[in-house]
């Protein structure tokens, strides 16, 4: 019907212009649409073509962290089943601390002797307070049944993994400007609570201290260490990750066949299936830009 009306109107004399002023343009209806309609529209202007190899390489840091968490759970399981005694746990703690420091020392140029001393002092405080608080942790959840503890710990770990900041580290190297996001803070807190719950199931005070120290070291500082390695050299990061994966898989294999299959399929899913999936759904990407978009300011606003 609209078409008919358009045809009935007098034949166009002047060219139609894309302007709003001057009233109705003679010979054209207000719903006139010509080939200039939507000519300013741009589709998928800022879409990045992704390379599957690059996405797979990037996803390695996720599986690396998955393995770290799996190793922590392994240590928890062995400690709870009394396969690991407190002395060997303390030995693991000390060696982790030293190796972590060495890695930071090699990868970060900014470290100085004063800063190291400062770190050392902080760590002493940290260890002392943890030791003092250990009896509290030990009796904290005595009135709660073990089943609830396992369930809550498992869900907290899931939460931790989902919200973890895989691209950066929540605990920053000194001098970092950006504050961590809320989700990564929640993630760190979930992991700390999970460690406290596990520690509260252990028989002796020294056990509690050793396992808490271990868990906190890993959850707080492992992301920082892996981040530093990644920044230092991507190749080293790849080697480290693959080594870590192999180690974790072999340890899990010794513990339980089914868990091994689960972890292996998870790693395959993260490293192969997900990148392929991401590349596949890129085809459906549909971005529209045009003159109606809000203009972006080309300078930074410092409020």
């Amino acid at each position: 019907m609209d078409r008919n009306l358009a045809h009935n109107s007098s034949p166009p004399r002047t060219r139609w212009r894309k302007v709003a002023y001057g009233g109705m343009q003679p010979g054209y209806d207000d719903n006139h649409t010509d080939e200039s309609f939507l000519e300013g529209m741009v589709m998928n202007a800022s879409v990045v073509k992704r390379d599957i190899l690059k996405v797979m390489k990037d996803s390695v840091s996720i599986s690396e962290y998955l393995c770290i968490v799996a190793l922590v759970v392994l240590v928890w399981a062995y400690t709870l089943s009394s396969t690991l005694d407190e002395n060997s746990l303390l030995f693991i703690d000390a060696s982790l601390l030293v190796s972590g420091f060495l890695i930071l020392l090699f990868t970060q140029q900014k470290l100085s002797l004063g800063l190291l001393l400062h770190y050392f002092l902080n760590i002493c405080f940290f260890i002392t307070s943890l030791y003092v608080l250990a009896p509290i942790y030990q009796t904290l959840t005595r009135s709660i049944s073990s089943d609830s503890i396992w369930a809550v710990t498992a869900s907290l770990l899931m939460l931790h993994l989902f919200l973890h900041d895989y691209s950066e580290s929540t605990v920053k190297a000194p001098g970092a400007l950006k504050n961590p996001a809320l989700t990564s803070c929640i993630s760190v807190n979930a992991s700390v609570v999970a460690s406290v719950f596990i520690a509260s199931r252990l028989p002796s005070r020294l056990h509690v201290f050793a396992i808490m120290l271990f868990s906190l070291q890993v959850f707080l500082f492992a992301p920082l260490v892996t981040y530093c390695i990644k920044k230092y050299s991507f190749c080293l990061h790849l080697c480290f990750s693959i080594g870590l994966m192999a180690m974790t898989l072999s340890f899990v294999y010794m513990l339980h066949r089914f868990l091994f299959a689960l972890l292996l399929s998870l790693l395959v899913f993260v490293n192969v299936v997900c990148p392929y999936w991401l590349i596949k759904i890129q085809e459906y990407k549909f971005e529209i830009n045009g003159p109606w978009d809000e203009a972006k300011l080309c300078f930074d606003i410092t409020d």
Binding site: M1, D2, R3, L5, A6, K18, V19, A20, Y21, G22, G23, M24, D29, D30, N31, T33, F37, L38, G40, M41, E287, I288, N289, G290, P291, W292, D293, E294, A295, L297, C298, F299, I301, D303
Partner: protein
């Protein structure tokens, strides 16, 4: 064509007097001019504080302030069906033939249009703003718009850019969307009787001081212009969260004597502020039409504006200097405007604006859209449901459900309160003497 036929029109939007803005102005002037053309117009909006019930405005414009409280940004709380009974009563009482909704983020408008379609009325929608496609807010807004527009008879946009945007957002066929711009009351925005002296050049900015209006651009541009041109002075009218930044800039560059900040300027005081300047500066980052430019041009000011949205369509090239939303380009544009200034005669510009824009023309063009809408064929519920179903895999089914429940509720109301029991309003004949001066008076009271 069919302008012998007289319509009874219901304008519906959350935004109306005593609130103030582009949409409110548009509805008011359009209604007045439609009344002048012999149509009957009723405006429906929500209650403003203690202003609730029926009010009459100039020329017998009847306004229903529905006792429904706004909850955020003057919008009513979306209840989907809460307004059905009162809308039905008003539609029957006033013997409405066309429902005309305004503004995409007015929930009242969306609900009224939905109910009107359920009851088989012809529906026209005017979109006054632009939306992107990327952020979460826009995506949801666009889905709601798609729902409302799936079944409108005709749609109106205020600029061609806005039309492109609306067509993309709602999936309407482009020939159903009309472009009818806003206009300006040239009688209200007259240039100064005496031409302001050119020894000192005054640049006027009147806008809300918010991010979307580009206040951050002003913060960059003003010091640079003041440095380059010692005889330039700025007058900034308006208030908002970004005012602090402007004041900081004024302190930092010690421009207190060259940048005057007026704070919020009521609409009636805009003209005196405008005529004290030579150049009007608009720094918006997004704009569907920009009435402020029209008002400034009508007062005889040369406009410098960012080239965003529908702004390039608003004025002929010799009346406006456009710049990219980038400080350095805007500085160049202002310098160009300053060099153009000796050739500008405010009175000539005002007379040109009189020819380019007037509300009577807008009303006549809207009348044509109403005629088109009335010629649309009636459709039964099943035909209409198929249109909603095509809106999306999940959304389509949800929309259909909403419409079906609405239909059932309407049928229930028909039983509980039959249409014959609703008393129709007698036609009160008001003397049609609403000329421009009276309209001006009315707005000055508001």
């Amino acid at each position: 064509m069919g302008n012998k036929e007289k319509h009874t029109i219901m304008m519906v939007s959350d935004f109306f007097y005593p609130n103030f803005g582009g949409v409110e102005n548009h509805i008011y002037y359009l209604s007045q001019c439609l009344l002048n053309l012999g149509h009957k117009v009723v405006v429906v909006t929500h209650a403003y504080e203690n202003r609730s019930g029926v009010r009459y405005m100039t020329g017998g414009l009847k306004v229903y302030y529905i006792p429904w409280r706004p909850f955020v940004m003057q919008n009513t709380f979306p209840t989907i069906y809460g307004l059905l009974p009162i809308m039905r009563t008003i539609l029957i009482r006033e013997r409405i033939t066309i429902v005309h909704g305004h503004q995409a983020f007015s929930t009242l408008c969306h609900e009224a249009l939905m109910h009107a379609r359920t009851m088989g009325y012809k529906v026209v929608f005017t979109d006054h703003s632009l939306y992107g496609f990327a952020d979460v807010g826009s995506i949801h807004m666009n889905k709601v718009l798609q729902f409302t527009l799936a079944d409108v008879s005709q749609a109106i946009c205020v600029s061609h850019t806005s039309k492109e945007n609306t067509v993309l957002r709602s999936g309407l066929p482009p020939e159903k969307v009309f472009v009818i711009p806003n206009a300006v009351d040239t009688a209200m925005f007259k240039p100064a009787v005496e031409r302001p002296s050119r020894s000192e050049i005054v640049i006027v900015v009147i806008s809300r001081l918010v991010y979307r209006k580009g206040t951050d651009l002003l913060v960059e541009v003003i010091p640079e212009i003041c440095r380059l041109h010692p005889n330039v002075r700025f007058i900034i009218g308006g208030d908002g969260p970004k005012r602090v930044r402007l004041e900081e800039m004024r302190e930092k560059h010690s421009l207190q004597d060259r940048v005057e900040m007026l704070g919020a300027v009521p609409h009636t005081r805009v003209q005196p502020v405008l005529i004290s300047g030579h150049i009007f500066l608009n720094s918006s980052l997004t704009e569907a039409f920009c009435i402020a430019i029209l008002e400034a041009a009508s007062c005889g000011l040369l406009t410098v504006s960012t080239r965003v949205g529908g702004v390039p369509e608003v004025l002929p090239d010799d009346m406006v200097v456009l710049a990219e939303p980038d400080p350095s380009d805007m500085v160049l544009a202002i310098q160009k405007a300053i060099s153009m200034l000796p050739k500008i005669d405010p009175q000539v510009m005002h007379n040109r604006m009189k020819e380019l824009y007037n509300w009577q023309d807008v009303a006549k063009r809207t009348e044509i859209v109403y005629d088109h809408a009335l010629k649309c064929s009636n459709q039964n519920l099943l035909e209409r449901l198929s249109r909603y179903l095509s809106c999306g895999a999940w959304a389509g089914k949800l929309f259909c459900l909403v419409m079906m429940v609405g239909f059932l509720l309407w049928q229930l109301l028909e039983i509980l309160q039959p249409a014959d029991d609703i008393e129709e309003v007698p036609d009160v004949i008001f003397p049609h003497q609403c000329d421009e001066e009276e309209m001006q008076q009315k707005s000055s009271i508001e």
